[in-house]
C-alpha cells in the first residue's frame, strides 16, 4: 500500500470501533436521540480548505491542523476522545452533548493545558471535530495535537484539516 500506483483509486474502508453501550449519566441516551449540530457547507469549506487560510503566509512550515473529519458516529467520536484523554493523563473536566473539555494533569509553561473538542455533523456519516486550546501554552497545545492526539485518533480520522492527499 505504500507504493503510490498500487493505492491509486483505492479508498481505505474506515471501520469505526464498535463500543459497548455505556450509559453515563444520560449522555449516551441524549446523543442517540439527536445528532451533532449541523456544520454548514461554508463552515466546512472555510475550515478544511488550506487555500483560504492565509495564516500560512506568516508561518515557515505547514501548520498542523486542529480539525478533522470522521465517518464515525458522534457518540463513537465522543467516547474515543474521552479514551484518548485518559490515555494522556488528561482529566475530562466536563462532557456535554457533543462537546468536552479536558485538562492535563501536569503544570506546563503557562499552567495546565486545557483543550476543548466539539463534534459537528456535515452530513450523515461525515462528522467534523474541532479542537481548540482553552488554557495553557500554545506550543504545548500544538505538540499535543500533533504528537499525541493525532496518532491516537487515527482509527476514527478520515481527513485532517489542510491535508492534501490528492495525487494530481
Amino acid at each position: 500500500m505504500r507504493v503510490p500506483w498500487f493505492s491509486k483509486g483505492f479508498t481505505r474502508s474506515i471501520s469505526c470501533p464498535i463500543l459497548d453501550d455505556q450509559v453515563e449519566d444520560g449522555q449516551e441516551i441524549a446523543r442517540t436521540k439527536s445528532p451533532p449540530p449541523f456544520y454548514n457547507a461554508f463552515e466546512f469549506i472555510s475550515s478544511m480548505s488550506s487555500g483560504f487560510d492565509l495564516s500560512n503566509l506568516f508561518e515557515n512550515k505547514r501548520k498542523s491542523g486542529s480539525l478533522f473529519t470522521s465517518k464515525c458516529s458522534g457518540s463513537t467520536i465522543m467516547a474515543t476522545l474521552e479514551t484518548v484523554a485518559k490515555t494522556f493523563n488528561f482529566r475530562v473536566v466536563w462532557s456535554k452533548g457533543y462537546k468536552l473539555k479536558m485538562e492535563g494533569e501536569s503544570e506546563g509553561r503557562k499552567g495546565k493545558l486545557a483543550v476543548t473538542a466539539e463534534v459537528y455533523e456535515v452530513a450523515p456519516e461525515v462528522a467534523v471535530v474541532e479542537f481548540s486550546k482553552a488554557a495553557g501554552d500554545t506550543l504545548e497545545y500544538k505538540k499535543f495535537c500533533e504528537e499525541d492526539a493525532r496518532p491516537a485518533l487515527k482509527d476514527i480520522v478520515w481527513s485532517w484539516q489542510g491535508e492534501n492527499n490528492c495525487q494530481s
Binding site: N40, S46, S47, S49, L54, F58, N164
Partner: protein, 213 residues
C-alpha cells in the same frame, strides 16, 4: 543617470509611500514597513521583480509553487485588485487590511461574500457552492455520494437562502453570518497584530522620521 548606481532601493512597481498606506488602513507606519519585509520575501521567491506572481503566492501559502486550488486562486484574484495577474505592494497592504483584527465587520463580511461569489455575479449560487464542496472533498481525498453533497447544500441553503431563489444575495449573507459568526474566522489574521515583531525592518531601511511616528 550615468554609470553611477544610486543606493536607493530597487524599483518596486506600485510601491506606495508607507505613510499614505498607513493612513488608508488599520496599519501603523511601522506595520506597513514590516509588511514590506514580508512582501519582499514573497515577491522575490521566484522572480525578483517586486511583484507577487501566482506561483510566488502559492509558494508562500502552500510551500509548494506548483500547488494551486480553487480557493487560493480566488484569494489571489481578489488581492490582484487591478486584474493584472500580479499583486503589487499597495494591493497587498490594502487587501491584508481587511484581515486585520481591527478592520470593520462590514468589510470582512463583504470580502467573504465576494470570496464565495466565484463568478462575480453578485450572488452565491448553489452551483458555485457545490463546485467548492467538490473541490474541497477532492483535495482532502474524501469521497461523498452526490446525494450527500445535495443534502449538505439543502440544509445550508435552507438556513441561508431566505427568499428561496436558489442563490444567496448580500443581505441574506449578512443575515447568515450574523447567525453563524464562526464563518468570519478566516477573515481575521491575529498575526497582523504582531507583524512588527515577526518582520522587523531594520532601522536604516526606515524612510520615516522617528519624530513623525
Amino acid at each position: 543617470m550615468g554609470c553611477f548606481q544610486s543606493v536607493a532601493t530597487k524599483q518596486f512597481p506600485g510601491r506606495e509611500d508607507p505613510v499614505a498606506l498607513a493612513s488608508q488602513t488599520a496599519f501603523s507606519v511601522s506595520e506597513v514597513e514590516a509588511l514590506f519585509e514580508l512582501f519582499k520575501s514573497i515577491s522575490s521567491s521566484v522572480i525578483d521583480d517586486g511583484l507577487i506572481s501566482k506561483e510566488e503566492f502559492q509558494l508562500a501559502l502552500f510551500k509548494n509553487r506548483k500547488k494551486e486550488n480553487l480557493f487560493s486562486n480566488r484569494i489571489f484574484d481578489l488581492f490582484d485588485v487591478k486584474g493584472k495577474g500580479v499583486i503589487d505592494f499597495g494591493d497587498f497592504v490594502r487587501s491584508l487590511n481587511v484581515f486585520h483584527p481591527n478592520a470593520s465587520q462590514e468589510d470582512k463580511i463583504n470580502f467573504s461574500f465576494t470570496l464565495y461569489d466565484m463568478d462575480g455575479t453578485g450572488y452565491i449560487e448553489r452551483q458555485e457552492v457545490k463546485q467548492m464542496l467538490i473541490a474541497l472533498l477532492c483535495e482532502s481525498d474524501m469521497k461523498l455520494a452526490d446525494e450527500a453533497i445535495e443534502t449538505i447544500l439543502d440544509k445550508t441553503f435552507l438556513e441561508a437562502d431566505i427568499n428561496r431563489d436558489g442563490k444567496i444575495d448580500r443581505s441574506e449573507w449578512l443575515n447568515f453570518v450574523g447567525k453563524n459568526p464562526s464563518l468570519l474566522k478566516i477573515m481575521t489574521l491575529p498575526y497582523l497584530r504582531d507583524i512588527t515583531t515577526t518582520f522587523p525592518s531594520f532601522v536604516f531601511n526606515s524612510e520615516v522620521d522617528d519624530i513623525a511616528t
